[in-house]
Point group: C2
Chain length 376, copies 2
């Protein structure tokens, strides 16, 4: 029995934006939606009950981190991530590929600074057709990440949605190298899917569309990966060096993806990106941006971002956002939040995180309503 299903509720008449519903073994994800990132199986500064109260429908956990700490053996023994972290709502895990290749090549930002010349020397021992051999930053153990070991790890973690093992090529890459990387990524995704389908465990698997910012290779990736029985499609690889490049790439890619499967955009969730990407047909976004902003004292609101540490907030006895109904805004003043941040009290990070995640939930609900109203 297959419990994963994407239900298309409404297609906007104005754009590719659509409202949908992803059914999973742990419940429904209304789309478009934001996916909160809890790298280590914990949304930073929140426990799972708080996350549930905020109404976050899907949580993103990182296989790379969980493999190294606590180890998938521990999570498996617990009965999977849902039990281990006490979350009875949907979870998605990635393959570990992104992290291990970020170690190898550095992140896009580092890379743009170093013009792609910097090769990091931090743990990656060997990249081959089989996979990637790297050294654990925790205990120095050698770890081999391959399509098969990544998917087995994700089987042990037991998320509702899993991701095939792929290569994250650097942004600065010549066409020939990108071509080699794309071909290998496709072989790895096929191996991942084959391994997954031997024992689906009610998990769904999304492909990861690659091809960097090369329109032809993106097209080729869409054609190949949509020909395989994936349950949805994530857009990954290098998304470009700025918003414009990313939107161009998406405008090219999303029309090539099937309407009856969900589209996920990997690692993007900044406020500027959301609306344009939703209009281009993206259904879900994972990002640590809102929670990281919260811990850095930036509160989101429909009237712009509020800086908690701004000295004008010291005496502000109003709620951080008077229009907000989150736990933080209904229980505490801006002055108290300002004080907690000044005093470096952890509770400040918790309260700010609650607010920003609540904002994301409201924002996505607004987008869904606008789509239903054909207003997006």
């Amino acid at each position: 029995m297959k419990t994963f299903k994407f239900e298309l509720i409404h297609q906007s008449s104005k754009s590719r934006a659509r409202v949908g519903r992803i059914h999973t073994p742990h419940g429904i994800i209304d789309t478009p939606n934001f996916v909160a990132v809890g790298t280590n199986g914990s949304l930073k500064a929140l426990d799972s009950k708080m996350a549930e109260e905020i109404g976050l429908q899907l949580m993103f956990c990182n296989t790379y981190h969980l493999m190294l700490q606590p180890g998938t053996d521990v999570v498996k023994k617990a009965g999977g991530l849902h039990t281990f972290i006490n979350r009875n709502k949907p979870i998605i895990t990635d393959s570990g590929g992104f992290q291990v290749f970020s170690l190898a090549y550095g992140g896009v930002k580092d890379e743009l600074k170093s013009k792609g010349k910097k090769k990091s020397d931090n743990g990656v021992l060997k990249i081959s057709e089989e996979g990637v051999l790297f050294r654990s930053y925790r205990n120095g153990d050698k770890v081999l990440l391959t399509p098969e070991t990544s998917i087995q790890a994700q089987k042990d973690l037991g998320a509702d949605i899993i991701i095939p093992f792929d290569e994250l090529p650097p942004y600065h890459i010549d066409k020939q190298a990108l071509r080699k990387s794309l071909d290998r990524t496709h072989r790895w995704e096929k191996r991942s899917l084959d391994y997954h389908l031997k024992n689906p465990q009610q998990q769904a698997m999304y492909s990861v569309i690659h091809g960097g910012i090369d329109p032809d290779m993106r097209k080729e990736s869409c054609e190949y990966l949509t020909s395989l029985p994936f349950d949805g499609h994530a857009i990954g690889g290098s998304l470009g060096k700025n918003h414009a490049q990313m939107f161009d790439m998406l405008a090219n890619v999303t029309p090539m993806l099937p309407d009856d499967k969900p589209n996920h955009l990997l690692g993007i969730g900044d406020l500027t990106s959301l609306e344009p990407c939703i209009k281009l047909g993206i259904d879900t976004f994972d990002s640590s941006h809102p929670t990281r902003c919260a811990r850095h004292g930036l509160l989101f609101s429909f009237n712009g971002t509020i800086k908690i540490m701004n000295s004008a907030q010291k005496m502000n006895m109003e709620a951080p956002d008077s229009n907000c109904e989150c736990y933080t805004c209904t229980h505490y003043s801006m002055a108290y939040l300002h004080h907690l941040f000044k005093a470096k009290e952890m509770t400040g990070y918790t309260l700010a995180t609650i607010h920003n995640l609540h904002f994301m939930v409201q924002l996505m609900a607004q987008y869904r309503q606008r789509i239903l109203d054909d207003d997006l």
Copy 2:
């Protein structure tokens, strides 16, 4: 109308231990009880709703810290600490004396190491009959703490129970210097009380019994301070260099205190001290020990302390304490807590803190029951 009242419920037939009930404008404190310390107006890693769910009846906030950050003007504008931190249960504040003299003389532990020779040079500019002039560690401002400014600050903070300004003499002090300090502390406490009584604001004020480990001076302090209209008595000053010295001092002091007023022991709340001190007639204890232990990965239980980081806990899928009904133990495994601490996730500190404070609430309820049963 005076809303503060101490009600004696039961006097043990076996010791000075008693069960009582302190009535305050923000509700009842059952005694003996533990008072959680939220220095900056926040129990570290918890928000006030969690603290309330745990059942903590009295919270201790530090005037010294709150004066400097956010400033009593901010708290006053908010309508007092209860509103500012969103707590509708009783709060006690201290005078700031302890902190400012710790700066001047160093803490007892530092002092024992340096044999009292070390004079800290960290902000204290002048100690005189008027009070203490010091420099704010936050902004360099000169701040004058006197009996009157301390009590005015505590009026602005608006706690249910306040503490007069006193001098904390060093442990290593000769009799003549202790005598001078005691006399000045008595004058300062009298000035504090006089200032308080001009405008009681429904606040109660406890004296602070001084005299170090000199039995005669402790006696003199009891005699003088119990002759004044304080609402209760706190035992402060140097409590000795070890448990035995503290218990001896308390055995001398508590019989000299009136039965119809509550007795508080300042800054003590380690598990070893509680039972002997309760038997000597102490009603309330404030200490950051349980919350600090939690953040350092030590969980309290009735079967001894549990080390979260112990490698044996990695695979332990049981609750941290299977007999405990706290939120943490009913929702998470020891393995998850171990993982959160290993991964340095803030949520780990929150969950451990919830457990230890819940333990303290249960432990104190057990003591009360044993006293009611004449079993202590």
